[in-house]
């Protein structure tokens, strides 16, 4: 259970939103986008000072003992403000993996470092949930030799460590990898929403047994992917609410044919549908996060529904917020296109709508549909 009350979460949300409004405006954001690293080191330090980076880290490791619900508050704000910093891989995936499957020594080394902003961690697994090109970890005398390729490692360029999913004796395993270790090659680019992203190649990279996460098994990975999927849903909810707000404002202020374009019924109804879609995505996302936070049985079903519905909403809202803006929506200078590209990416992470619907449909067909009582 989280150490936070609902009121704590509201206060947290307020504080993040204030920061974004005050210190993460368009100019600062533009500077971050064109910087070499593609995210704000200074901002990262600020997040540490404000206590956000330790929000879901245990108090014993210098955090404040929250959980997924608090991370979701942070991620929603990140979506709303289009933050560029590595919250998802470092706080959700890597810290989650270490807390859930790391050794005491690994936790003691990395969790405080994350909470204090001293370390950025990335996470390398296949984007799609099925792992078709595994990294193979071959046992050696005192450790492992890792070889293989992983694509789409978010913030791989900045990472102090990359947690790599590999196959060890036919079972999934997680390793803490130094990006400067011999045999590690990273090729850098940007994702569609301007985040730094890398392809990772491992050529017989030597890793010590001490760098394997002892609890890094399939069950942990399933739980991590679920948490990450919900964090992404929360981020998408924030982005959708912001995009809807901007679009609604535009409908009210833009005039054509001598009237505000918000007077056209077709645009009104579309804006209604965008609003309902965001509302639906938010409700199912918070429901799934609530269930996951207490480990309820229906978490699986609710997570699949949340990811699928938020993906559908993201597509509608992303596309239509450009359409309703017209030409201005197509410009890089205006922010709505950035929301569109962010939503495009979030849709795909940790399984797209189809992947989750197929799972959910399979459970429903089998009568395992999380129906309460």
């Amino acid at each position: 259970m989280s150490a936070f009350t609902q009121e704590d979460r509201s206060l947290l949300a307020d504080s993040i939103n204030r920061f974004v409004a005050d210190a993460y405006g368009p100019e600062r954001r533009a500077a971050i986008l064109t910087s070499d690293e593609g995210f704000g080191r200074a901002e990262w330090a600020t997040y540490a000072e404000l206590g956000w980076l330790g929000i879901a880290i245990a108090e014993a490791h210098g955090g404040s003992g929250g959980g997924l619900a608090e991370l979701a508050v942070l991620m929603r704000a990140a979506g709303h403000g289009l933050l560029m910093e590595p919250l998802l891989p470092t706080l959700v995936q890597a810290a989650g993996a270490l807390a859930g499957g790391g050794s005491a020594a690994q936790q003691a080394e990395w969790l405080p470092a994350i909470a204090e902003g001293r370390a950025i961690l990335a996470f390398a697994q296949d984007n799609a949930a099925q792992d078709e090109a595994p990294v193979i970890a071959e046992a050696t005398g005192d450790g492992y030799r890792l070889s293989g390729r992983r694509g789409f490692v978010l913030y791989g360029a900045a990472a102090d460590r990359i947690i790599v999913k590999a196959e060890r004796a036919g079972q999934p395993a997680l390793f803490l990898l130094s990006p400067t270790a011999p045999g590690v090659t990273l090729a850098h680019a940007r994702s569609i929403d301007d985040r730094p992203v890398s392809d990772l190649t491992l050529d017989r990279v030597q890793v010590a047994e001490a760098d394997r996460l002892p609890g890094g098994d399939a069950a942990l990975l399933e739980r991590l992917n679920q948490m990450a999927a919900l964090a992404v849903c929360a981020e998408a909810v924030g982005a959708m609410q912001a995009a809807n707000r901007l679009t609604l404002d535009y409908l009210k202020t833009r005039t054509q044919f001598g009237t505000s374009i918000g007077n056209f019924q077709v645009l009104q109804h579309r804006m209604v549908d965008m609003t309902l879609a965001a509302q639906e995505a938010a409700a199912i996302t918070w429901a799934a996060i609530g269930a996951a936070s207490i480990g309820a049985a229906e978490t699986l079903v609710l997570t699949a529904a949340a990811k699928a519905r938020s993906a559908a909403a993201a597509r509608l809202i992303g596309e239509q917020s450009i359409q309703l803006h017209g030409g201005i929506g197509m410009t890089e200078e205006y922010v709505i296109g950035h929301y569109y590209r962010r939503l495009m990416l979030l849709e795909t992470l940790f399984g797209g709508a189809g992947w989750h619907l197929d799972r959910l449909g399979g459970w429903t067909a089998a009568g395992i549909d999380g129906e309460k009582a």
Binding site: L276, E280, I284, A287, L302, G354, D358
Partner: protein, 401 residues
């Protein structure tokens, strides 16, 4: 409190369990079977079940205690509605207990309360709703049926339409025009009409599912005692809006969609194509997942609204959002049902809607009920204010457009 946390409240869970248990033991099996098969219910089916609920004290659970209710919160009421629907109970015909009753106990005279509330509670009086007219569907303020005061009576002339179950009704509550001055809404009054009054004629409307749910009601010089006016003359529109608000959290029909989705699931398992059940087909599987995801999301939206209502908040516009989402989901589910049936050919054997019917069916077993449901549910996006109207309302009231 988040909706999902609220649902875990032990008292709420206990109440839900009570309703489920009661349905399991007290819902007559013959009635349930008809409902689950989508077959015709007759008046006595509805009355029988409603009297069972009356005996339990639940039929007007949402009424205040002084009028025989249980002061249920909106959440309790929603749970009651969902669980009875899921269990296969008949539609709780709302015309008496949800519409006429609350208007009468809120705005009516003591004499009206004494006279009408007992029959409403016990379902000894069957009510119908006389709102829509041929020229006033979505535009309800445009009603033309006139009630002219003549001594201690109103003389009513006009025509109502889409009057559900009027063929069984003892009483009809109506919106009538008592004045044509000022804004159209201000000339409307709320009048109770005994269906046996001379001049009242009910003509059936057969709908595209070949069934008789709807009627036209012709009112020709119908003399209605002035004491049947509820509240004040010219305030009928206000009372109608009060009702709308009263019902605002039920429009999602989560219970009905849950029941229909279960039926779809069984249907997909039963129908084979190329030797394998449809539920093995990847396209059907994804479509089933999609409908399930929409239902889960709708439930989550409802729970948020219910949590807000428990906390005392009454935004009042949920009705439009829930109506849109709920009706479009129902059509999504029943549309999938007929698409599944279509693999074997769409036979609509209406005899199969009669419960006594024994002949082995032509086409797929269960098809008539599902086809009937599908055809009937094309109306869900039309009645109660078409979805286009609901979107207009949201654009104006929520978005400020």
């Amino acid at each position: 409190m988040l909706g999902i946390d609220l649902m875990r409240d032990p008292a709420i869970q206990a109440f839900r369990a009570d309703v489920q248990q009661f349905c399991a033991t007290h819902l007559p099996r013959d009635i349930r079977d008809k409902v689950l098969a989508g077959q015709h219910l007759v008046k006595s089916d509805y009355v029988r079940w409603q009297k069972i609920l009356f005996d339990k004290g639940w039929i007007v659970g949402h009424w205040p205690r002084p009028y025989g209710g249980q002061d249920w919160t909106p959440l309790q009421r929603a749970i009651f509605d969902d669980e009875t629907s899921k269990a296969g109970a008949p539609w709780l015909t709302p015309f008496g207990v949800c519409y006429a009753g609350p208007v009468i106990y809120t705005f009516g005279s003591q004499a009206q309360k004494d006279r009408y509330l007992p029959g409403i509670r016990s379902t000894d009086t069957w009510w119908c709703q006389g709102y829509s007219e041929p020229g006033a569907g979505s535009d309800l303020a445009n009603i033309k049926t006139r009630a002219v005061r003549d001594g201690d009576h109103y003389v009513v002339n006009g025509q109502k339409t889409w009057t559900t179950m009027a063929q069984w009704a003892d009483m009809m509550f109506t919106l009538v025009r008592t004045s044509s001055e000022g804004k159209p809404q201000n000339g409307i009054s709320f009048l109770l009409i005994d269906m046996k009054t001379p001049g009242v004629t009910v003509r059936p409307i057969i709908s595209i599912d070949k069934c008789h749910h709807l009627n036209e009601v012709f009112l020709d010089d119908v003399r209605v005692p002035a004491e049947n006016l509820v509240g004040e003359e010219g305030r009928g529109w206000t009372y109608a809006k009060f009702l709308l608000n009263n019902e605002r959290l039920l429009g999602a029909e989560v219970g009905k969609s849950t029941r229909l989705l279960q039926q779809l699931r069984r249907t997909l398992a039963d129908i084979r194509d190329g030797g394998r059940p449809l539920s093995d087909d990847p396209h059907w599987r994804r479509r089933l997942g999609e409908l399930r995801a929409r239902l889960l999301a709708l439930e989550a939206v409802c729970n948020e609204y219910l949590a807000a209502a428990e906390a005392g908040s009454t935004p009042g516009l949920e009705v439009s959002a829930l109506k849109i989402m709920g009706s479009e989901l129902i059509q999504g589910i029943t549309g999938a049902m007929v698409d599944a049936l279509a693999v074997k050919g769409l036979v609509y054997q209406t005899e199969g809607l009669e419960p006594g019917w024994q002949t082995p069916p032509v086409g797929l077993p269960g098809a008539p009920g599902m086809i009937r449901e599908h055809l009937h549910d094309r109306a869900t996006t039309i009645y109660g204010g078409a979805n286009e109207i609901q979107r207009n309302i949201l654009a104006k009231a929520v978005l400020g457009l």
